[in-house]
Amino acid sequence: MSRTRLFFNLIRADIKRLGRYIPSLLIAMLLILTLVLSAGSYLSKNIYKAEMYETAKIAYYLDEDGDERYINLAIDYLGAMKSMRETANIIEVGSVEEGYKLLDEKEVLFFIYLPAGFYKGIMTGDNPTINLVVRDTTTIAAYISNELFLSLAKYLAIAQAGIYSALDTAWAHEMSDNDVTRINNLSNKVFFEKVLGKDASINVVEATSEGSYSLKKHYEAAAIMLSLLFMAFILIPYIQNYGSGISHKLNAMKISKFHIFVSNFLCVLIAVYITYIPCWIAVSALNTHFNFKGLYTALLSVLIIALIISIIGSLCKSVFSGNLIMLFVAIAIAYVGGGIIPHAMLPSVIQHISDYMPGQYIISNLAHSLFG
């Protein structure tokens, strides 16, 4: 009997062996699908969370300086900023002591103490010092708020520069007092109008496009990817269930480990694909949209998953180590591919590595195949 014939016989025998594992695979996948579908609403609320920021509570104290016009202007300025309203929860306190007390009790993240004559001082260039006390500098809320303050400070600075420049120019050209007053008022108005009115320059639109998937669908695809990778727990015993007698005789008949690997890989590919089909059916039924193209476009992902399972199953000598290594690899692939934690929340170095790992491509391919 030729080597080719023997190799063909090996593949046929492996496929026949696979028949005994298919029921276990399908049962395992059906259990997963039942769990995922029934827990779907909880998962969609929590696991798809891309919010990394909770509204920061900021307390402020504004020292009375007798000029309500300036006080109200400052407060209105802050309150008018949509970004402040959405990013921070601003509360007024009655004294500096009260502000520090709230900080100590962890009721607020920031305490801003605006000194007397603050706004007037800005206009006259005295630039009084704001005391900005933060409870915890390590939270992202602190950094977001810091960015906000920096932006607001930049506006103030630009406005100041503009007002001073306009006044200096007017004086340099010996304009009349009326003109100077008019230019002063205009230069004040024009920047604050631009800053306070900038929200009107933005048109907010929800991002949807053909060929792109929502974060929710991204995570559903990631869950399917993990489920297919976890079929390794049933397939690794299948790969390793070669008696030493078989391996010995195959080697003597010049069927090398590589041939055995190829035979295992083909069978694992078939097994993973068979396990993918119930996922496709379930997702299509839920979305009432059967994307038949998805039955073959998913082959690339199935191929990569089958390759990973085959390699680990062939390299490891026992079910124990094979399964634990598979778990580690599955979690690593999903994690780096943004399948467990949102991509934006991953450390920068991981985000860079992600482009060279299969995770994000498998998730993307599965999303296309499942959701059309």
Binding site: R12, A13, K16, G243, S244, A252, M253
Partner: protein, 206 residues
């Protein structure tokens, strides 16, 4: 005559088989005697590998069977025949004497040691080899099972088949026409030693 020439094998620096050559005539059974770890299994697997194209039948010590499959599928693994043809051959002489037909419906995992050995032999003999390489054919078999295998081997030899057996079981060497001793990687013909009254045990020991 089946001539085996210049077989060598080493594992790292350890030269297990050192340029071994011997022959076996048609209808002859040659025994390879040696202690555990002397390289008997290695010698047989090297011969099987080198002469694979000449239709040698190789039966390793551990049964080359898939536990999950049925006997007929296991036989099919090692031949080019269809299922029906396999069953037909198993019902004809000489394979019918192996008695594999009695347990064709049981999965391999449910078979006894003797049944598994007979099935393993069937996977080799289904291709009608003229030369049979057997590695410890009687390992973990009870007396009736051993007897069955021995009877079959006698029939095979009587029909002109050549058998090369690696073993340390004395009973086998009573069956063999010649016994070669594998020691320190070389083969020694034990004919003269036996004629001088040295037992197999002493040959192995000294």
């Amino acid at each position: 005559m089946f001539s085996i020439e210049n077989i060598s094998k080493s594992y790292g620096k350890n030269q297990v088989i050192n340029n071994v050559s011997f022959y076996a005539n048609e209808g002859e059974a040659v025994g390879i005697l040696g202690i555990n770890g002397s390289g008997k299994s290695t010698l047989l697997s090297c011969i099987a590998e080198k002469y694979a194209e000449t239709g040698v039948g190789y039966l390793p010590q551990n049964n080359p069977l898939f536990d999950e499959l049925k006997p007929v599928d296991n036989i099919r693994m090692w031949c080019s025949l269809k299922k029906g043809e396999i069953i037909e051959r198993l019902n004809q002489s000489p394979l019918v004497e192996l008695g594999v037909n009695e347990f064709m419906d049981k999965p391999v995992s449910a078979l006894s040691g003797g049944m598994k050995k007979r099935l393993s032999l069937a996977t080799v003999l289904i291709n009608n080899p003229s030369i049979l390489l057997m590695d410890e054919p009687f390992a973990s078999l009870d007396l009736p099972a051993k007897q069955d295998i021995l009877v079959y081997m006698q029939g095979f030899r009587a029909q002109g088949g050549t058998i090369i057996i690696a073993s340390h079981d004395e009973e086998i060497f009573n069956f063999c026409n010649r016994v070669l001793l594998l020691k320190n990687g070389s083969l020694i013909d034990t004919n003269e030693l036996r004629q001088n009254g040295i037992s197999f045990v002493d040959m192995l020991r000294y």
